[in-house]
Symmetry: D2
Subunit: 445 residues, 4 copies
């Protein structure tokens, strides 16, 4: 990735950074401070931590007369980098009422200006190259937190008996999904891992060979309606459908439906969404299920989950690619991201998270649909290093590698994933019981 | 208590209500929303719950065309009254980013106006009598939460690595405490419990007889300096000084000092206060210790904790009474409670919590000092009903009686107790391991 | 207590020690090794710990050429005496498959011979006096563990789906209980605490004065039938009857009946007893309830629990005393305590635990009945030191005093209490949620 | 597997069953009843459960007039088969003092006779075939529990401060291990999974293709001495060496060495073994480490763990096979093997668990050594189904498949694995934090 045009870089940097603020725009300072569980973080913390990332890994390394914006922030906003030093305890991020939102905004502005100055300043070629790499990583990192802002806020608002909306916009009811079709792939020795000259995370490398037996992949995601049939058939009461640890999880927590499903007083199923509580739409892709639920559903449906190699192979074979940024970002959005203007404009930074690519469009019935932009798709693959994997040196090497145990890979992207962030080789990962991400099911067999 | 003068009642009602808001004035909306542990509540929740109390127990019962300010608030701000119905889970009060602080302020204003209208309206004598009783209870309840606002905020700010101040005011260093003296009491058959025609809580009644063996009570509270000597003598490492459950508590939690004591980088003892981190003042009364610590210290000092009957008997014998409201409230305070004006005025709603009555004043050396206004004083008495105790009928009867197990009585009052709230028969109570209240030690033998 | 007749002392010592072994006689080595919960101990551990008590506090102190039976036993069988040193972790007592039961029996025999030699040997008067005191304490201690052997074995067997009996003997069905009557007491300044020249524990001293308001005490214990009415009236579902902590306890643990009550397949209530599963006898005194349940029942019944002073005052006033040892022990029992002979003899060391003094006998209806020998009776009094309480010096002083927090006093004695062990001033104590002891309810008002 | 010769089948059946009893021979009934943690089971439970397996899956299905030995055993000794019905709670297996060991032995004898009668009786061909399959599975299952008996007893005895031995035999000190060499493999498309006509578990099938990149495998296991160097280099204090979850595990549990390593009073390292506490032998293969420790050590050593495919490919390429049964029992070595019966028999059932194949023998330095018979070897592969995996129908299908989440595969076999049980395609599995199995490290790169 080249740094030939500082103006372009600065514009790109500012666009991503402003998009993050736009996501926070519909929220009060109170909303931004709360933490609903140890796995989720306050929005304010996300705003500060992404800034800390640029300050710590770029400014501290490359600014001539570096001085921290605030010495204590190095600890407060370190997420998990042992190489950087101490960390504020994760479950207590919601207690950081200081610094205030105003101070965190000032922190962002300050670091943004210093980064812009760095980009626009005189740099030798090697340094500029290094800066480019770190900036790209920082922006990709920020985009990951953009998605987490939406999932974490959704979880927070869902705890509130008032069922507050993140965005007060209508949630369109979808047309019925087309019948599920099976797409066959022959497999063989396949090349897996990122192949290109753009950005990818270290965990997508090195590209290597895997042997894939012939398999079939479902043409679209499992819908709410299909999953409801599983529930009504007693799926949550039938031990034989579940992994042993999944069954313990169901029994211990008394689970009987996806995370945000509820029944209203009349007994009708509803779903808590970023647009508040809504009647359950059977046509929408099922989301907010754990790997345990995905596996039990697949078992019940006479299928299984795909491996991550199958998913990537199928995506590559079918030429599935995420929608281009232009197709999903709305011109002028970031400039208009105040709550008031959002209503007027009819679009918002966070509004994508309410819409999903519908599979019922024009294409032939056997094509792979909803590979990107609807829900992350659980695979049966645990998150392990590719043969020859080498994390980066130093603290930045803690980004991915150290999480490669007891996590499962998700492929694709979700409605909350920022435009331009995903790709076919992208490896998202969460524990088998995680449900607060936009996670769904694509069957294989 | 008479309701003859509605104007006087309205003024009194407004004064207490405004004092609560004044306590919140130095805090941001973010500060007001966070909950640092299940035992503590967010300031916003205190503001709403005290309002809920008036709405539920007065307006709902006495307003002609009662309609709730917000139907959901009945659940959200119910603390522990099973008789009223469902309750929002206590450990999740900090997740209620909605309603916002602005909405809670509006809630307060609305209920305040309706209460004022009720007071000023036409009422028959019996109803007016009943209203007077409930108003008094509601205001006493609000004053209890005023103290909790300060203790809960202190706990919250103490979790923050930035050591933020609640009030940015100087904390005066006290003159050395006078030598501890022992005041002797002969005991005998004593009348215990509230005796007067003012307000008291149901747990202070009925007045009854107890036999008290002769005893001695310390003339003042234990100081930081004295407790430091206990620490330095290995008090936290000597199992023999502790109750068995206290020793488990010390070992399991790895405790070695009072809740807010810390060492700075140079190894000097500091204390986190509402005025931020301060050097430990050996003359100040020790505070923020659990009953377990109080008992171990007393054991080490060759003494014991008083029973609550001894404390009350001594207070009555010595004529110890809390300072009158006028002596501790500052004219014009509530009108001047914005952070800016606080500095200028040199006084604030919450500033009392920084000052303690110093025992080193004029009085003869054997008089009982610091009975009120410094720290609540642990007694060895578990919290049990007095003979003939009868809680009120209905949900209001849950106020005190149902907590009479595994709690220990504290007597006196603290620097955070609102002026005019305490009295000699007052029974505060907390579990033996509670440390976040302003709790200290008065020895007996 | 005099030591004038060594032969008498030796006989007494051997009788108590043999009674302990007789209690273990119906059990296999496997039964004796298991620990059903941290609060309970294996029978083998009880056998060893009581021996450790004599070895540590008598032999080690008084034997000329003392050497421990096994050096490691000092740690393995220390219960809670920090003054003696390290302790094997309480929850892991059931993992001590070594030493074997045979080795523990050998340990008992060895210590018994050495104690007998000490008693019979030449001692100066002061030493003999001291030996007498320690022997008495050791035997009282052993009797406390005799009761615990029965309660702990009952708890262990109750966990087993086979519902095994401790003793295979018939459990007689009792005649209906007489109507509950109320015995009135005038109270006044009463002397409380042990008064006599026999043995008492340190927690029964010093005798002191308490003022007792007039009260009434129920003539007998609450029966299973009465408690069943409470259950059928929804007692376990009505929050308003319970202490707040008790209600949490009920909800968290999902409780709906006393510890050992069950329903058989036909829905009939049964009770697990030391004679196995038996149909619930409505005439038997209710047992195995927590203080929380006792308090809720009393609340429901329009009464309350007595204080410990009321109980002791009433017992003293009514001249209630435990049945004499001769009336409850069976001549020749301990010699015949093997399981086989038990059946033939029709009596057993542990069989008393199956029988309770029935209140329906001859006496006038208002007399106090079942004060001793049926169930320990919960009082509303927390376990606190009497005024002037002084524990003994050294490790032996840990016997009682350090438990004086968050425990509630029980008075009387149970069917499992060894004959001759209880008295009116005896203070038993357990936490408010304990249910595995033979604990019941006597009402007051 | 043919059932042509019933006498041969009966002999084989009896041999395996007797071996299990022989493993229990050095233990008392008390030893056999205790459970040291929820993951481990009492020996008595293993003896009963393996019998339950034959009774439930063979006798119940095939015996003409089947009646259970004891109706309650169906629940008590069901391990995890939801398809069979209720289960006694796993953490409470140690509370089952009834049935006694004698009853469990009688249960074994009864089932053994009935199985023998079935084998020897008249059966049609299909039934005989089915019986053969189930018998084989039952015996393989029993062998798995033979290993667990040793690992669970070792864990139990390790909790005992007396450090008791399972076998009182000398533990020979090994000659220094040869230098670690790297064996190179070219990889390519490899066939993975069981290939033969003998028995294998369902999780070893179907045989399928995997692509393996070139790799190197260490010639022998990591030794105690090598791991000690890791400890002394600060391995347990360096976050950067650990997986994130592993580091949390180390910190939360305060770990600093393998499970059974200890320091004696002089500070020398010892290891608790089945022969009691022994000085640490630097030449022995390291064992009782978790995957977390294996991964951190590999990281520190500049290597990694192999995948299970690499391990199997290497074993197949090198022709590594477990020692034949005859080669692993040592004539006459059991002279010291405990109780009289073993001595008479001339071999010790459990003694193999004390000996390991030493890598320092004759073979050329680059050969793969200790693939079998020393320690199970952690791989980086999570336990997932092979492509096309199909568990058996019915409850027996719960044997393996439902555990395929959050478990990691171990390959090879250990000193505690019964002779004839392991093979190159065998997939053992445990969670990443398990340490009480005989688990060690073979490096790859």
């Amino acid at each position: 990735m080249q740094m030939n045009d500082p103006a372009l870089w600065t514009a790109r940097f500012r666009a991503v950074r402003e998009h993050t603020l736009a996501l926070a725009a519909p929220l009060s300072d109170e909303d931004c401070g709360a933490q609903s569980m140890p796995d989720a973080s306050p929005v304010k913390w996300h705003l500060a931590h992404t800034t800390w990332f640029f300050e710590t890994f770029i400014l501290e390394a490359m600014e001539a007369d570096f001085a921290p914006f605030h010495a204590a922030f190095r600890v407060l906003f370190n997420s998990y980098y042992n190489g950087v030093g101490e960390k504020h305890p994760r479950p207590q991020r919601g207690l950081l009422t200081r610094p205030s939102m105003a101070q965190v905004r000032a922190y962002r502005a300050n670091v943004d200006e210093r980064i812009a100055a760095l980009i626009g300043g005189p740099l030798d070629g090697a340094t500029r190259m290094r800066l480019g790499g770190l900036l790209t990583l920082g922006l990709q990192h920020e985009q990951q937190h953009q998605e987490l802002i939406l999932t974490d806020v959704k979880h927070l608002l869902a705890q509130n008996g008032l069922c507050p909306e993140y965005l007060d916009v209508p949630l369109p009811r979808l047309a019925p999904a087309p019948a599920l079709a099976w797409q066959r792939f022959d497999g063989g020795v396949a090349a897996i891992g990122y192949d290109g000259d753009g950005f990818c995370f270290d965990n997508e490398l090195p590209r290597h060979r895997q042997f894939i037996e012939p398999f079939e992949l479902a043409s679209r995601l499992v819908t709410n309606g299909e999953y409801l049939a599983f529930i009504e058939a007693g799926g949550y009461r039938e031990a034989g459908l579940w992994l042993a640890e999944g069954w313990d999880w169901v029994c211990t927590q008394g689970l009987a439906h996806p995370l945000y499903w509820r029944r209203d007083e009349a007994g009708n199923w509803c779903e808590f969404t970023l647009a508040g509580l809504q009647p359950l739409d059977p046509a929408r892709p099922l989301t907010h299920v754990a790997l345990f639920e995905a596996d039990a559903y697949a078992h019940w449906a006479g299928a299984r989950l795909p491996t991550e190699a199958e998913w990537e192979f199928a995506a590559a074979s079918a030429g599935a690619v995420p929608a281009a940024p232009l197709a999903r970002t709305h011109a002028g959005t970031s400039a208009a991201a105040s709550p008031a203007s959002l209503a007027g404009a009819g679009s918002a930074a966070g509004q994508d998270a309410l819409s999903v690519p519908h599979p019922g469009g024009a294409p032939e019935e056997d094509a792979l649909q909803q590979m990107f932009g609807a829900c992350w798709q659980w695979t049966s693959s645990s998150y392990t290093p590719y043969p020859g994997f080498r994390p980066a040196a130093g603290a930045i090497g803690e980004y991915n590698g150290k999480f490669m145990v007891n996590q499962y890979v998700l492929r694709g992207s979700s409605c909350a994933t920022p435009a331009g962030h995903a790709r076919a080789s992208y490896r998202n990962f969460f524990p088998a019981g995680a449900r607060w991400q936009f996670t769904g099911i694509r069957l294989a067999r």
